[in-house]
Symmetry: C2
Subunit: 402 residues, 2 copies
């Protein structure tokens, strides 16, 4: 039996989270350092650096790495990397310290997430980053908006992470480090693990994708994004409960591991699909399932751009390979789940529900076909939307009462 | 994009079928050679040698190769080979020529299928071959029975094949040589092709196996055995028509190629699964689908012995790798096709029909659940069994009239 894939870079995991007395001492020292606020995305990246998900990065990228990653999807040392991992500060903040200084990175809740030795301050061409990474400069794109909202000065240098962001406490048993998933895979005797990336509840189309992987691999890691999404998306606690209900009722226990990771969505489509494969390699997965419009948003990417980009990178860029699967759905003539590759029938034979339509059905109490989603999953979503509607009503009535 | 796997041995296909004037001349010469009868299995092997399916063999095995293949699954030169490919003659026949002589190999219909230069005559320990290849000496095993029925003297040497056995004419468009399937794959732009081995009509469980391969590979070769089976099995023309109906109605045209190959079944279970993968490598397939009890018969093999044996051979024995899939069925609680790996429900939630029960339902006109088999397939099988019953009735009434 072959082993799990190597961590990216080939020299083992490089978690940046301090432990024990080192953590204690660094937390004390951090109090006296210049405090620089970080965005939600930057905080997620720090926690990922902390747990070793971004191995072998030791911190935020230099100007040289940033440019090389944008242009050629590689660090200056040649290692494959598809998306810049950067932190930024305003001029007002950046002027309070010189290159070489140590700083404290503070999240919106006031917690010092990490300390950092700043080896370089630099400014970037944000439009160039957006064109390179997102293939657009359109400010409607949520990833573009995040880059455009960054402060003026990028800061490069190694970080020492002081917190897991509370994810372990908020998602007990669900939030796992790459070291932990690798240990879990080994304990199960798995070597060929496929990662199923999700930022949504899983309906039958997603179950089908994951089960194709179960049929052909040792197991599947159902890996939920636990960071932030764009407004209107279903929050992580609801999503992960719905996924848990699906797994409990429709999966064989020894074929699946449900877990989560701390990043925010960038919505970079093809480039983010590559990042997903990269960090899943660190988590020990040999395959990354890539479905239709992976990590996309709106209509910025062709539905299979994220398939094609894996053919455009060097063969040895990543050990983790894509498991490319076409658009999936229930087909009434097939009498089963299928994809564009396995169903020869017409669109009208297929059950298709948009997210908008599903939400409307759930809110209004209309029955959703069992061929679209499992009743156990729908119950959880229905309760969530009912709660939302109550809040909206409370807000509206509060408003009208003024 | 990677290329198709190399022919076994790595030096290109080695078809032994003569062409043009060489064929004409050899046919004439063959008339004057000692005529040795061959069995149905030996005839199938000759045609496979003719079309290059047994590349790089140039003929029937020597005593040294036979022993090495039985014992270690390799030729004396070290090349992986899981099952002896041999021809035998009675003492009476073998005494009519010396080692070094050329002979003509004649099938039951009187056709000279090949000529052969006999480099060695040898006798074998048939029980040793049976224990090695079939894991049993039980004479109820149809493969054992075939070996035990072989004549006393094995003949080794290179062959020149003079006929395709009429397969091309009997199965136009369906019978293809390895060269032809490779050309077809290349024309379709396929490099990652999975072979689905079948000696039965395809019901939904088989469709599901093939479609898992379609979801994850460039295409699937549905490859029917066109040689002989044990008595009572459905003949190749009926099977291939039923499979054609399934493909026409339930597969996407560009994802599947239906074809057939000329061998008889040996029922060697795990060892035959390896032979299937070996000759599929010659046909250009990167994967061989291995389901439950692959190439088995009765209860001679554990249901997943043919999975395990692929882990027991050297990593570089074959370029073609197994696509191992568990036992598959319709599950009413899943509301779909599933396997033991993807369905957590109880046996009573699943639709299971034995071959015997299916035949009874088809013969008696009972409705077969659509979750078990496609109506287009069942129509063809129903007509076949109705024809059989008529023949039986004709025979019976003829008999009673005497």
């Amino acid at each position: 039996m072959s082993a799990l894939p190597n961590a990216h870079g080939g020299s083992g995991l490089t978690p940046r989270l301090l432990q024990g007395s080192k953590l204690h001492d660094e937390r004390r020292r951090a109090q006296s350092l210049p405090a620089i606020p970080v965005s939600s995305r930057e905080r997620g990246d720090l926690i990922m650096l902390g747990i070793g998900g971004f191995t072998p990065l030791d911190g935020f990228m230099t100007a040289g790495d940033w440019r090389s990653v944008c242009r050629d999807m590689r660090l200056e040392n040649g290692l494959f990397w598809p998306i810049p991992i950067t932190v930024s500060a305003s001029h007002a903040h950046a002027d309070t310290f010189n290159e070489g200084a140590d700083i404290a990175l503070v999240d919106a809740g006031g917690e010092i997430v990490a300390t950092m030795t700043v080896i370089e301050k630099y400014s970037i061409d944000k439009a160039f980053e957006c064109r390179s990474v997102f293939r657009t400069e359109d400010s409607e794109h949520p990833g573009v908006r995040m880059v455009m909202a960054q402060a003026e000065v990028n800061l490069a240098g190694p970080v020492r992470v002081l917190s897991d962001g509370g994810f372990a406490q908020r998602y007990p048993g669900l939030f796992m480090t790459p070291e932990q998933t690798r240990t879990a895979f080994a304990a199960k005797g798995w070597s060929k693990v496929a990662a199923f990336q999700t930022r949504n509840p899983m309906h039958r189309s997603h179950e089908y994708l994951a089960k194709i992987a179960v049929e052909t691999c040792d197991g599947v890691l159902v890996h939920s994004l636990l960071g932030n999404l764009k407004p209107g998306d279903i929050p992580a606690d609801v999503r992960t409960r719905a996924i848990g209900a699906l797994i409990d009722n429709y999966f064989v226990a020894d074929t699946v591991l449900q877990s989560g990771y701390p990043l925010d969505m960038r919505y970079a489509g093809p480039r983010e699909a590559l990042l997903h494969a990269l960090f899943r390699q660190n988590y020990g997965c040999a395959y990354q399932i890539i479905g239709r419009d992976h990590a996309g948003v709106g209509s910025y990417y062709g539905p299979f751009d994220a398939h094609r980009i894996f053919d455009e990178i060097p063969h040895d860029a990543l050990e983790t390979k894509p498991l490319k699967i076409d658009w999936t759905f229930w087909c009434y003539r097939c009498g089963g789940m299928a994809s564009e590759r396995t169903c020869p029938h017409a669109p009208e034979d297929r059950l298709l529900l948009s997210g908008t339509k599903l939400r409307k059905m759930l809110s209004e109490g209309t029955a959703v076909p069992a061929e679209f989603s499992r009743p156990e999953v729908l119950d959880i979503l229905r309760a969530y939307y009912a709660g939302l509607d109550e809040k909206v009503e409370v807000k509206l009535s509060g408003h009208s009462a003024r």
